[in-house]
């Protein structure tokens, strides 16, 4: 008898979406859900129009506006941004696609709204013209970012040509120390495997510390898989996943729910399945992290200091020296001594309700340090509404934060929310690249708890540091 090959979660989900497999070709992969936004889609729709092609499955396509939208009426969109939003509205109308535009209650960052609506479910394939599509892997879906030509391809055919990526397991076992959040877990992982540690692979996050995370925490972890270079990140679905999905707007109902559950329970990686690469981390090694450089692997713990490039391994020195020049930091400086000009609480990484609860609890009854500009940009209008029902907006406003409408905002600096040249920001977003939050801006990646404490202290701080 031949023993059946044990398969990983990623392999199972991939294999069930293969429409066509032939020698010398990548797989033709079916896409269960295509998320669309205003920035990476106009050229794709124009391509369809020129070729007289239709959208094959408008019912599996959802559009919103997030990257470019203003988050306050005080700073309206410029003409060129307006034109892009109008194009999104016209394209959705013309091709029969559901759109949640600015001003609707369901509008928000595409990776925040899809799970909220119950459109993100285990075992699916999900793509979007946005690299943080990896977020949806938290549900045990294969979800990844694509370019605009591929957006056009999916619109026209509901499929993609793609070679099955390799597999990688990142196992985090043990209990997370107090004050260590999902953001710190993923920053800790990236600091160990590097920004190209996952290239060509799908990472499966495993272990008791991962299973102990809420769905929102799991989304934060999977969201930044792309920052490790991975094609996607995944977490096996379990009771936490099912409880999150159940009863959401687009979740299966009644007998369909039971059938779906039976299917989802069979998805996790089988014992004995092999990964191409395995990394193990003990949760007790993790701390709250702050990035000091210009890529997400350039981090230290908040108790640490700005590193001396000469003390790093040779391959990293030149990039570290360049990063420190850009960031205007001196080796040896304690992270807590670094003063910030701005604090951004937002993005598809960390702008869900739990993030806002944690941060609002830190700022409760306190005041943002004079001179610090502090922004809360909820991930979606539904998150915003819920936060307001819970009174979180009052806590933020009373402390001196601006309370904004939903959007990508200062994560990527496409809308008017940008840093000025040389401004330094503690940000709950995902990328500290040069100029990411505005030309010349300096970004430090942190968790919502550290961002909130930093806004109060005026320099990097933990909630426990506040008097």
């Amino acid at each position: 008898m031949v023993a059946a090959v044990k398969r990983t979660l990623a392999e199972k989900v991939w294999d069930r979406h293969v429409v066509r497999r032939a020698t010398g070709e990548p797989d033709l992969l079916y896409v269960d859900l295509h998320l669309v936004h205003e920035v990476t889609s106009p050229q794709a729709f124009e391509g369809l129009r020129l070729a007289h092609r239709a959208v094959r499955r408008p019912d599996l396509t959802l559009a919103t506006m997030d990257h470019n939208v203003p988050t306050t009426t005080a700073t309206p969109a410029d003409d060129i941004s307006l034109k892009q939003m109008e194009a999104m509205a016209r394209n959705a109308r013309e091709f029969g696609i559901r759109l949640y535009p600015m001003g609707t209650p369901e509008q928000g960052i595409v990776h925040v709204i899809s799970p909220q609506l119950g459109l993100t479910e285990p075992g699916m394939t999900i793509v979007c013209g946005d690299s943080h599509t990896s977020t949806h892997g938290a549900f045990g879906a294969i979800a990844f970012g694509i370019g605009t030509s591929e957006v056009e391809h999916v619109l026209a055919t509901q499929t993609l040509w793609a070679a099955r990526p390799g597999t990688m397991a990142v196992t985090v076992d043990g209990e997370l120390p107090r004050g260590v959040w999902a953001k710190d877990v993923i920053l800790g992982i990236i600091s160990r495997i590097g920004v190209s540690g996952g290239v060509g692979r799908i990472i499966e996050y495993r272990g008791s510390a991962i299973r102990g995370l809420s769905m929102e925490g799991r989304m934060t972890v999977c969201n930044m898989s792309i920052e490790a270079g991975a094609r996607a990140g995944m977490i096996a679905p379990d009771e936490v996943t099912f409880a999150y999905v159940e009863k959401r707007k687009h979740a299966p109902q009644g007998a369909e729910w039971d059938r779906a559950l039976d299917d989802w329970r069979a998805l996790p990686t089988e014992d004995g399945a092999r990964f191409d690469r395995e990394v193990r981390i003990h949760a007790s090694e993790l701390r709250p992290y702050v990035s000091w450089g210009t890529n997400p692997a350039q981090t230290v713990t908040i108790d640490g200091r700005v590193p001396d490039p000469e003390a790093l391994e040779p391959a990293l020195r030149e990039a570290a020296a360049r990063a420190l020049r850009y960031m205007d930091l001196t080796p040896g400086t304690p992270m807590r001594d670094i003063v910030v000009d701005a604090v951004f609480l937002g993005s598809c990484t960390n702008a869900r309700i739990e993030d806002l609860r944690v941060a609002s609890d830190v700022v409760r009854g306190r005041k943002v340090k004079t001179g610090v500009r502090a922004l809360v940009v909820p991930g979606s209008m539904l998150v915003k509404a819920q936060a307001e029902r819970e009174g979180l907006d009052r806590l933020f406003r009373d402390a001196g934060f601006e309370w904004r409408d939903a959007g990508c905002s200062m994560c990527l600096g496409m809308n008017p929310d940008i840093l000025g040249p040389g401004e330094r920001c503690a940000s709950t977003s995902n990328r500290n690249f040069e100029g990411r939050q505005g030309p010349g801006g300096r970004t430090h990646l942190v968790s919502p708890a550290v961002a909130a404490a930093t806004a109060i202290a005026g320099h990097f701080a933990l909630p426990d540091d506040l008097s």
Partner: protein, 196 residues
């Protein structure tokens, strides 16, 4: 898409690792709804530094970009490839390219070339020492040739055929419509839909 059989030309040596697409084309350029008009945004911030290699007139007209590992990381923006294309680049060589960037290159007829780090280092040195050095990338043979360098790179038959023939990807896929329809008939009934 245009056909690409062979790319021959001078090379721009960009000896940096992990160059992200925000550096290749900053986000404010992404407000445009057209596929063209991105050339002026290529490496916009770095080009303000007179010492940036792209400002060296000896590299003007380079058709090959040689970069460090993980070039094109970060955002999925295909605008990065469009910007490179507009400035005249037809191939990018690195020890490893970011996944989405690599896929985007293939869609625009830019040849993504991943070589052993030693070979990339050698090419970088050649281009730095003599900017007139010509590099040839042969798509059909999947090889890179330069003085003293003979290397081959991986490119699956499917991707190679598309570059060589300049095929419209969607038209090719639509020849498999029956297979897609068959697949759709057996999709699970509980999968979410926005119908209605």
């Amino acid at each position: 898409m245009r056909t690409v059989r062979r790319v021959t030309g001078r090379a721009l040596p960009l000896d940096r690792a992990n160059v992200d697409t925000d550096q290749i084309i900053p986000a404010h350029w992404l407000k445009r709804v057209e596929r063209t008009g991105y050339g002026a945004g290529l490496f916009e911030a770095w080009r303000r530094d007179p010492a940036f290699v792209m400002n060296d007139p000896r590299y003007a007209g380079a058709r090959v970009l040689i970069a460090g590992v993980n070039f094109g990381s970060g955002s999925s923006r295909e605008h990065a490839v469009w910007a490179l294309d507009e400035v005249g680049f037809r191939a990018v060589i690195a020890p490893r390219l970011a996944d989405i960037f690599r896929a985007n290159c293939l869609k625009s007829g830019i040849v993504p070339v991943e070589l052993e780090p030693e070979a990339v280092t050698k090419l970088l040195e050649l281009a730095l020492r003599d900017p007139r050095t010509e590099i040839t990338i042969d798509v059909e043979r999947r090889t890179v040739e330069a003085p003293g360098v003979h290397a081959s790179f991986a490119l699956d038959d499917h991707a190679r055929a598309r570059l060589l023939e300049g095929l419209d990807d969607i038209a090719v896929t639509l020849t498999h419509t029956d297979e897609i329809t068959t697949y759709e008939a057996r999709r699970a009934t509980w999968l979410p839909s926005l119908r209605g």
